[in-house]
């Protein structure tokens, strides 16, 4: 499973987006506001999920803001930190 696929699966399961399938989440669609419609509480939940599933630590929300724009951005963030 690629990082993007894993991210989609985790987001759907852990954020309880039951009616959505991984295929329906576009890689470059916004995660917050429009697109998937996640909010500030989901953002901090994703921070915990990144720690839990990828051992990646997000030190602040400012740092995470760029990364959380889309699945693409999130995957890039994770991959970059995993090689560190």
């Amino acid at each position: 499973m690629t990082v993007k696929e894993k991210l989609k699966k985790i987001i759907i399961e852990e954020l309880k987006l039951e009616e959505i399938t991984p295929e329906e989440i576009e890689d470059d669609a916004p995660l917050f506001g429009e697109g998937l419609g996640l909010d500030s509480l989901d953002a901090v939940e994703i921070v915990v999920l990144l720690e839990k599933y990828f051992s990646v630590e997000v030190k602040s929300l400012e740092e995470g803001k760029e990364a959380f724009q889309s699945i693409n951005a999130l995957a890039a963030y994770v991959e970059q930190r995993q090689t560190q």
């Binding site: 309880k16 987006l17 509480l41 939940e45 915990v48 720690e51 630590e57």
Partner: protein
């Protein structure tokens, strides 16, 4: 000042809605379901009156409920049912206040939160679980979905929660800062609660299936969960099919003095099979002969009194007292079998704690 009951919504072991409650009252029967308690000797069976909140999807789309836990779902469902029953789902709610009484709060989520970090470490704590675990999350959830912008309150006082919270509801309406109050009571069962029952009550906890509340020396309690919601307003003389809440009072059993309608009141006794409360109930019952008890229809939970209020309201609506679904009829066993409301139309719902604290809520036609 009397509080008019404009509508109500209930969900509990008997099902969902006032029709389900009325049906259980008529049949005199409600069977708990089986759950499992994790013990050091392996799993044990326990009977529980579970509440099913799945009808909530008639009112709110699933997506909006994705983060909402069972505790809040029961509260939201009770709220919608009560507002629907009152014919107020479409009305503006900027002058509506909201109060929820709860004994244990969002108990399941308390442990879901701990599950997220207590073994694996703090960095894995779920912020969503934390946010849902604070007791006022249900008021937040309901007020957000239903756009209720008056004052909000969550009261937690174990068995005295309902009577205590109603005192404040009445003050709000008296003060005039709101025109109506959405008043609810919610409690949920969770595995840890089942475990605590097993440890405190031993074999009696896990063998109990048929509650015998008027057998006051017996531990026969079966845990229950659910929500009971009421739309309350000032009594403007218009009347209501459910009558009014005349009074809510907190005190101690030994100081209880009869109200003016004392002889002409029927007492709904909130005894729910807990032996440690037995002596206090005996003391109260020694002075009262017209009694009924309905706890076997919904089980034992701190906010059980709110179900008794709903049953009292249904009694006023139907003009009769439903038979008590109890094996041993208790001291007042003549009166409730007659099936008539007293001439005063007065029903007093009574709850007593193991320390002899007494909470009463009196309704009148």
């Amino acid at each position: 000042m009397r509080l008019l009951i404009q509508g109500m919504g209930v969900v509990g072991g008997f099902g969902c809605g006032t029709d389900a409650l009325a049906s259980a009252l008529s049949s005199g029967h409600c069977a708990p379901r089986n759950a499992s308690v994790k013990t050091s000797q392996g799993p044990l069976d326990i009977a529980v009156f579970f509440a099913d909140a799945s009808r909530l999807e008639e009112f709110v789309n699933k997506r909006s409920l994705r983060r909402v836990d069972h505790f809040s779902k029961m509260a939201i469902l009770g709220s919608y049912l009560a507002l629907q029953d009152a014919g107020k789902l479409e009305e503006d709610r900027s002058r509506m206040g909201m109060i929820i009484a709860t004994g244990y709060g969002a108990a399941r989520t308390t442990y879901t939160l701990l599950d997220s970090f207590v073994l694996d470490g703090e960095t894995f704590a779920s912020p969503t679980s934390f946010s849902n675990s604070v007791h006022n999350a249900a008021v937040a959830g309901v007020s957000t979905l239903l756009d209720i912008t008056g004052p909000g309150l969550t009261v937690s006082q174990f068995e005295m929660s309902v009577a205590s919270a109603l005192i404040t509801a009445r003050c709000w309406l008296e003060e005039g800062s709101v025109d109506s109050v959405l008043f609810g009571a919610v409690d949920e069962y969770c595995d840890v609660l089942g475990y605590c029952w097993h440890r405190f009550f031993g074999e009696r906890a896990t063998s109990a299936h048929d509650m015998d509340p008027f057998n006051l020396d017996l531990q026969s309690a079966v845990p229950g969960e659910g929500a009971s919601f009421f739309v309350l307003s000032r009594d403007d003389g218009g009347g209501s099919q459910y009558g009014c809440i005349e009074n809510a009072h907190l005190g101690m059993v030994e100081q209880y003095t009869e109200g003016p309608d004392g002889d002409n009141t029927i007492f709904f006794i909130g005894a729910d099979g807990h032996r440690e409360c037995g002596a206090h109930y005996k003391r109260f019952l020694s002075g009262h002969s017209r009694t009924a008890c309905y706890t076997p229809l919904y089980g034992s939970l701190p906010t059980g009194p709110a179900f008794d209020i709903a049953i009292a309201a249904l009694s006023i609506k139907s003009g009769k007292v439903f038979p008590s679904p109890v094996k041993n009829k208790g001291p007042g066993n003549g009166a409730d079998n007659e099936g008539r409301l007293p001439d005063s139309g007065s029903i007093c719902c009574v709850k007593i704690s193991n320390r002899g604290e007494l909470g009463t809520v009196t309704l009148k036609a």
